[in-house]
Symmetry: D2
Subunit: 485 residues, 4 copies
Amino acid sequence: MDASPLDGFHEECGVFGVFGHTDSGALTALGLHALQHRGQEACGIVSFDGTEFFSHRALGLVDAAFGAADVIGGLKGHAAIGHNRYATTGETLVRNIQPLYADLSFGGFALAHNGNLTNAHTIRQALVRQGSLFQSTTDTEIILHLMAVSTRNDVIGRLVEAIGQIEGAYSLVALWGDRLVGLRDPHGIRPLVLGRLGESYILASETCALDIIGATFVRDIGPGEMVVIDRKGIQSSFPFAYKGAESRFCVFEYVYFARPDSFMEGRSVYGMRRRIGAELAREAPVEADYVVAVPDSGVPSAIGYAEESGIPFELGIIRNHYIGRTFIEPTNQIRNLGVKLKHNANRAFIEGKRIVLIDDSIVRGTTSKKIVEMVRAAGAAQVHMRISSPPTAHSCFYGIDTPSTSDLLAHKMDVEAIRTFIGADSLSYISIDGLYRALQDTGRDSGGPRFCDACFTGDYPVPLTDHANNCAGAKVTDLRERAGT
Amino acid sequence: MDASPLDGFHEECGVFGVFGHTDSGALTALGLHALQHRGQEACGIVSFDGTEFFSHRALGLVDAAFGAADVIGGLKGHAAIGHNRYATTGETLVRNIQPLYADLSFGGFALAHNGNLTNAHTIRQALVRQGSLFQSTTDTEIILHLMAVSTRNDVIGRLVEAIGQIEGAYSLVALWGDRLVGLRDPHGIRPLVLGRLGESYILASETCALDIIGATFVRDIGPGEMVVIDRKGIQSSFPFAYKGAESRFCVFEYVYFARPDSFMEGRSVYGMRRRIGAELAREAPVEADYVVAVPDSGVPSAIGYAEESGIPFELGIIRNHYIGRTFIEPTNQIRNLGVKLKHNANRAFIEGKRIVLIDDSIVRGTTSKKIVEMVRAAGAAQVHMRISSPPTAHSCFYGIDTPSTSDLLAHKMDVEAIRTFIGADSLSYISIDGLYRALQDTGRDSGGPRFCDACFTGDYPVPLTDHANNCAGAKVTDLRERAGT
Amino acid sequence: MDASPLDGFHEECGVFGVFGHTDSGALTALGLHALQHRGQEACGIVSFDGTEFFSHRALGLVDAAFGAADVIGGLKGHAAIGHNRYATTGETLVRNIQPLYADLSFGGFALAHNGNLTNAHTIRQALVRQGSLFQSTTDTEIILHLMAVSTRNDVIGRLVEAIGQIEGAYSLVALWGDRLVGLRDPHGIRPLVLGRLGESYILASETCALDIIGATFVRDIGPGEMVVIDRKGIQSSFPFAYKGAESRFCVFEYVYFARPDSFMEGRSVYGMRRRIGAELAREAPVEADYVVAVPDSGVPSAIGYAEESGIPFELGIIRNHYIGRTFIEPTNQIRNLGVKLKHNANRAFIEGKRIVLIDDSIVRGTTSKKIVEMVRAAGAAQVHMRISSPPTAHSCFYGIDTPSTSDLLAHKMDVEAIRTFIGADSLSYISIDGLYRALQDTGRDSGGPRFCDACFTGDYPVPLTDHANNCAGAKVTDLRERAGT
Amino acid sequence: MDASPLDGFHEECGVFGVFGHTDSGALTALGLHALQHRGQEACGIVSFDGTEFFSHRALGLVDAAFGAADVIGGLKGHAAIGHNRYATTGETLVRNIQPLYADLSFGGFALAHNGNLTNAHTIRQALVRQGSLFQSTTDTEIILHLMAVSTRNDVIGRLVEAIGQIEGAYSLVALWGDRLVGLRDPHGIRPLVLGRLGESYILASETCALDIIGATFVRDIGPGEMVVIDRKGIQSSFPFAYKGAESRFCVFEYVYFARPDSFMEGRSVYGMRRRIGAELAREAPVEADYVVAVPDSGVPSAIGYAEESGIPFELGIIRNHYIGRTFIEPTNQIRNLGVKLKHNANRAFIEGKRIVLIDDSIVRGTTSKKIVEMVRAAGAAQVHMRISSPPTAHSCFYGIDTPSTSDLLAHKMDVEAIRTFIGADSLSYISIDGLYRALQDTGRDSGGPRFCDACFTGDYPVPLTDHANNCAGAKVTDLRERAGT
């Protein structure tokens, strides 16, 4: 899958927290660097030294935002939380960059969130009617306002009360007083893991953020669990795990989002992708000369497909990683040349060959169409497309930026029509059952899925309240303000 | 007086508004340019085109912030308000730059304020306890929150209710729906004038901002008055003019702040300064060769002093205007050279001469001491300091950034001690009665002052509620965030 | 006179040098700050620590370019030279910012120049034909190339040989090995003064740059003189003072360019302007109510005029100093409002009055026309324009950026026509004889002028070789490169 | 191999040129983007529209430097050349960014160079003695000066005469008048290819820069060949192909530098690397569970090794591509954590396994040591290092930035000592004969190598004149100037 703005999903966020380390700011920056694939538009860190909060938030990559020694040096204290953000619409405003911070009646409170709330607009409208002033346009801010207007006396009580009113998918880290908190929604849709580094505790979206600082993985935070970390240690409770709620971890983290070196819910992401590729080879074999991945996301499945099928794996497409956020606005004349900023076919191993092309998904189809064209232009005799997930036919409301359902190619076409559209000689997706076999999960057959697979099946485990109220897209009256202010 | 960060008063703001002109953004930028002397740290404009609000806010001068064509072009619409800000403490955060903007339940609302609220912290604490989340650290934001939590149904009602709860000195311009509003506090402490440009209405802190765009002066907005301008015209009411409230316009606007080409409350600022100088010559004559002003603020009074005394006015001190906000951090060795970044003595007209030096005020005294030293080093035979205001012995709580009372030289010393401190041969201030004579105001003699002269007399016309509650300096828990974010 | 890009002269440069002080970089920055009026587009400093050269050059004001502590700290060493530049055409390229630096066969050599060479293109063409590669488009670089191709063995010899080939007006400071050099052209057209600060020597374009660092004035460098300063002291010689060459100091330095607190050739600049004003009052008296200067440059002459005539001097025009290089691109609608970014009439003292308006010169006339209109619009009964220099009828080729002769208003019109053009009730210029009387110089009557007054008389003391060769405007093939690179 | 500043080679440059296309600037930017791996510190483009030259040069990546529409729009004309630069020492000065440009006696001339001249300092010293002034510190500038001082009348004659005097490795593109020129040194050490896009001609360092714009590959420019392209077409000559000179193409382009999808001298780079990996498997087999590449450069050889050995290829190391030029300055405490900014072991496939680790080379050894430690820390049972090139024991003088010979690990240690240093269980390099077998080149056995393999063998095909004259490191007296000026 291509993560370009035109064709693809976008995980909105990565979160990180640390408690009990004198280099909390630097560790958080490193953790966010390891989670950079979860959001590249903006990043921020808030630290706390027991008395004061310190913050730095900026547009762009972690590397650029936190590279200067004085920036890290300014993030004083033994505790910190951080956030990577992928803005889904329009320009990113600095005031939307997380962690959000508020001066509540009990003092400062900082919050970072990965996920999406499905009743955010409904709650926001009620809060505004009651006199709340919103400063950002992010869903996350409603949690701060719900805490602010809570009548509970204790901070934990206010937080639990606030979280109790929101719906959706959320993995949160929060910092106040001298406490770091991590919590996950009742279905555990988005990931959150706990690690240790000496005496310090770490919270992170993925285990790769533990690896970068040499921390050890302790366990996944559970669905509906809240952990509160302070100088006395860690305390766990399950205030959000209501009766009947079952674990529905996002299956797309395995298929595409997570870094291959991460472990999620006990499984190696790379291992799962490799197994999916092998299952795909069994479900949709084809006679061919080479297995070629659309890099980088298709590589693990392609290796699995190659091993199972016995067809050699080759680097038939080369990716140019030196690419930023803007590029040359081509004239029409140049556009017609079919400029390939990001990928190039490795003609030496394509020309005259029958190619099995492995990608993780097809969203709008424009990228897949270009890739097939590029491979054909390099002389491929045949192009057989194999997709390591079922057709993406339903929009995600739980934190992954997908087009609306009506724009999804698989919503509008059947597989044969998609094949024609992208110009492949053959096209197969893995089946939903094949996907679960690969994940070693008996899936639907044994009492329902243990994953959220709504993007494939339309089975949404959490109510879509805003959507039902027709206020998901309700316009927030907002300033048209230039980026950076 | 020297407006350096180390020694001086700082007017916090200038405001401007326009309704009914297709170039509202450009006119506002020009108006703010004319008001630049009222605040140089930051500036902002919000415009409205009938449907959407547009905003640009930036650190620095108007010229730099709004010079680019696309910036002005982005401020669409027929109505706009703008603000110049002088930040009194620490670094300026972009989120503190006015106009402030809020998404209230009735839609967007923008607000710009010149003045200072004396019960802001008291109200803020109450609002935070009730669940309001503050996004800036400016006093102005409490007005937005008071409006947000108001139970009134109409916007004007909410605004009047909110303003009814605040105390202090305030001249406000606000923009919402299709209305521009201007209002002044019950005592009319800070200025606000109304102008016309063809069919358009203009609101501005000073008349010089009308001149720059060729608008005509209509009248001063009155103490406690509110004007509401919309497509149907202008409506005036006096919702804040409570019984017994009398006009107490800031006398220091005449002495120092306002631009000499402005008219305030019907008087020419330049003319008043010239008259003050003449009165000073009568009250405190001295035999001397030349009258020399500390430029630029001392010039009008010096001309008046020269005319009345018959002693020639000369440019004995030259000011370097090419000076920005930062300058070379000198080594101690250089510091001892007595570097004169801003002023230089005109030795040809100083050497061997008896000099009457005219300045508008002495705050901490460090600048005056340096100036006297510089004039002596250039060979002056005698230096007689004359100050065109009474001793500044009390801190201002109404929008002028003065040191706390205990840091004011005139609070700690009598005139003779100040003379010794600054090293002058003689020192005289104009008397409070002399000042009122010059202003053609019978002053205290006839039933009380018609000005606020608290900085000279300690007679504060508006209660200092925060000060009494010991919460004026109450720490707002705030992020230490780097400038620009 | 208005120094706007559209109407006015522009002094191209200020130079500064110091030898023998551990803070040479900081002192040079301070000196350039005092000389900022001589060039505001770019500035640069090169320092030398006995082994290495250090440099910082930037677009913009000295204050901004050298404000950061690490910039000054990087300019190590006991000797430094600096330069302020006003670029006369198009965008300023960083590679044109002086001091220029070259790696010559004897080592590094840095050079800064105030003035203009009248045979620069002629020499450049010859050098390029012989194989010299030019890196800048400044005239100054030809001196480096002439030194590079010299066959002399000693650096001084090469420098003298190079200077011997150039024509025009030049005041230079240079730094190499462990020597600081200052020199002036045979006629001493542009200024250069020598000062001392303890054991250190200072060279500067004006004495105000000595004052700012507390240095004492020693003497003017003489026409055709070269001083060489090293650890052993200072040595003077006159290698460029050819037989028959007479001092022809630029009279326009007195009239407009120099700072009023500077002394030039033994005369106080302020004093001279004041005397010119008085002479003008004698030559061109008029009945009026107030004498008003076009600020800031017209003020000293206005004071002189007022004193001589007995008509009171008033601040009838107020200048806004908060103005940078760019401003709002007005729409036509706004342009027609007659926006006054820089000046405003002080209506209180203009309305109904007869005004004598004093300015230093009229170049293209557009600014004068606007000022007269502004004063009339403020209600002046009569406007009598008095100019403190003779009509500017000839272009300058010696370092002052004037329009070409054919664009000068006084070249195209007689005084009456100019009066009509600018809309004044009367107009008088001081006569050339009056000017010399004011300067206490017997002038033309006693064997020829002792000043360069070519801009008034067309009497050019130095040959205009490029002009004669038609190569003054010869196009240098140059890259269109974006500013800053 | 790790291309970090601390451990690795650095190809200095990529070049690109186009003639005969209205979008020459955009095409060149795209070409440079495809060549970004050859230099990431700075980039520049000069275009020509038949009359004027246009230029933009900047620090940083092509994407950032040329992303703005107005930048590309400013590069007018039908011909352009461009350059990517990797600066080998200290900070990059803008004046060193290529293409270099000079105003020669016949007009403007622009030049971009990939390679390194081995007699540059020797020539530079002679030129400086004769009066040439250098503006950059790059070797390339001597070519401009040699042309400038040439007595030949025609530009081509001057260029040929200049190139005739230089020694080293050079692939050049040049632009002047209405001609684009490409040329290669007599041994063809550095690459240069010719392509066509419709009626336009393209020159580029690698074929991947043809692919990105859809141009077709025509042929390699030959050793000692010069092609001159103008509106009439292309003309080839061999002015630099002296008698006895044989092709000695850089073998390290195959091993590491070139992009795998490029073809060089008729061979697929990916295919060669794959063959080298297979040969390495034959020469240095080992019993193991997985073949793991050090990404990205080790991947093709690892695939070859895996296929030949039958051991499965796995993504045992994951690379984080979101990395810029600076990163968090870690405290010592953090440094000791072994922070892995760029690579992470894929623990799921490492733990308990015997790993064959494939990298392309070992330079200083520090990166290899860290990688081996990381793989062991992830639980590898054994780590067998295999290097797809012979030991790098000699410094490169032909355009690849290597440490001096004395700093190369293979110069100081034998293979067993290196194995101990990096901590591997076994270590093998491919033999020089094995390398040539893989490249299908009979190599030394049949009358001498057809490649430059000096970095492995010390057999330098071009004299090291500067080195012999001890002036390779001769200090150029240079300004210490801040980046960007």
